[in-house]
Subunit: 349 residues, 2 copies
Amino acid sequence: MLATVIHAARDIRLEDVPRPQLSTGRDAIVRVVASCVCGSDLWPYRGVTPTKAPHRIGHEFVGVVDSVGEQVSAVKPGDFVIAPFYVCDGTCVNCRNGVSTSCLNGGWWGGEVREEGFADGGQGEYVRVPLADGTLAVVPGPVADEEIPGLLTLSDVMGTGHHAAVSAGVEAGDTVAVVGDGAVGLCAIIAAKRLGAATIIAMSRHPQRQALAREFGASHVVEARGDEGVAAVQALTGGIGADRVLECVGTRESMDQALRSTRPGGMVGYVGVPNGGPELPVRPMFNRNVGVNGGVAPVRGYVEELLPDVRSGAIRPGLVFDLELPLTAVAEAYAAMDERRATKVMLRP
Amino acid sequence: MLATVIHAARDIRLEDVPRPQLSTGRDAIVRVVASCVCGSDLWPYRGVTPTKAPHRIGHEFVGVVDSVGEQVSAVKPGDFVIAPFYVCDGTCVNCRNGVSTSCLNGGWWGGEVREEGFADGGQGEYVRVPLADGTLAVVPGPVADEEIPGLLTLSDVMGTGHHAAVSAGVEAGDTVAVVGDGAVGLCAIIAAKRLGAATIIAMSRHPQRQALAREFGASHVVEARGDEGVAAVQALTGGIGADRVLECVGTRESMDQALRSTRPGGMVGYVGVPNGGPELPVRPMFNRNVGVNGGVAPVRGYVEELLPDVRSGAIRPGLVFDLELPLTAVAEAYAAMDERRATKVMLRP
């Protein structure tokens, strides 16, 4: 079968690899219906994180269950499933605490998962899913083709945007600013709107993304950054800053923008993977009672809450996909995202 | 009248100063019944923050209203009042948002308060209280002498400990660790217990403070620090860390202890004034979804909630005072706290 392998920076290849086999009794084989490229896949692509040896890549996919191990009870062959961007058992104390990304027995696609063996990358034709009962979320009933993009966002970006909003404590009536206009930032706007935010300020300089931000519920767009960006947010918030700010980038500059755009007593919800490890300046946070909460989003636990709204069309996160390519064009998918010609690329085998 | 003036590091003097006068129409003159020395007063005392010119000091006091300006309506002469460690109007947007320490018109004792003029230090015989309607909290009815210590803690340490617990999101059934065994840390134990924490781990090496911690509700005491301290907390929490950790010191080491003692998905509530500005390591916070929330505690807004429990004896924060001295011995009060001979010193004019 075909699967995507990264060999080095800017060297993405679709290769013939062995079709995966059930091996632990707790796993499932899933035929991938759609996968996509994540902003974090661009780190090894750009060489920001080194690729020491060729390895499988991709961690967002939906598909149909092909076969299951004998201990699997929550999914069965023929089920349409959403895989989150990680593997989790759903039963350990961290999973029960709602932090399945810290699952004591879980792990990451394209690597080893403790006693479960190798977890394939998601950008391929078939994937062996370890700990299938905990990892996979079943989408009941028939799934229409036009539902695929929306469902695929529940594997990462929609759940991650939601995590930013939940971590920041967004409530009905809040004023929310969103830093970052990538797929996660756009989904964070959806999430803030869905949780009842009355005013949503999108920080974006990109015309198409601004338009999508407004379609998703942004009431204002701020193009300025730095001191001017802070001033613009304050001008829209009675001079004090936003109640909640969702940081969806992960750089020092974006976190600084978020912290300074938050009102006294407000909270930053952050889901941008910290790039290079910006440290948080505690004294200004302390002086203004600005909190910071978030992290690697436990999206598996959000599927059940968000799925009905995705299926009903109440929210339309699938619109973040602005390019669809066949899996054979996976190298072009990476290039399009790297060059910002696409916000988010969907791949179909 | 007599008031405390700091001239330089370790140079605290009780001096004869002019008795304050009403001056803005919005102020009140309060006869101080009791005041105290704060851990943060030790910063200028120790020279950590320089004293450029002699100035009045002290920011925690209770007393009886002597006179009020013509626009004051919430307090009247004869009222027993609690003054928080800052001045606030109670009506600006930040005050309405529950962050009265960021009052747009407020300020700090011993300094200038915007249009309100000089705010006396609290360690004196009389204090002019700017913005009296917002700043002062009235204690209804007769006040017994034995109530004074408990009421005085509402000016700072009890409200600050409560803020740590509220900021961390302590809920019934939680496991809570408290870093710091000073007056604030001890009050944080009271607050955690009051909010329903099922397990409270006090990190303390000081025998008398350990005893008080247990009296206030700590179920476990951990003496170890650093890696050993983290391991000890994990051993008491099923290997994952505490749900909520209350950081009540403000050093890099104490914040590190707090962050690493928190379970994935947990929250650090911090109220220790950041000493030297430790920065927060965002990557390990991100990886484990550990949030940080808190800051300079808006204690004025907590008085109404906490006062009934203090008066009924349901909570006994007044026990943190382990030394009482006359105001004339204020220099000794500072020395006793500096040398850790006392946890918290109460001064009576």
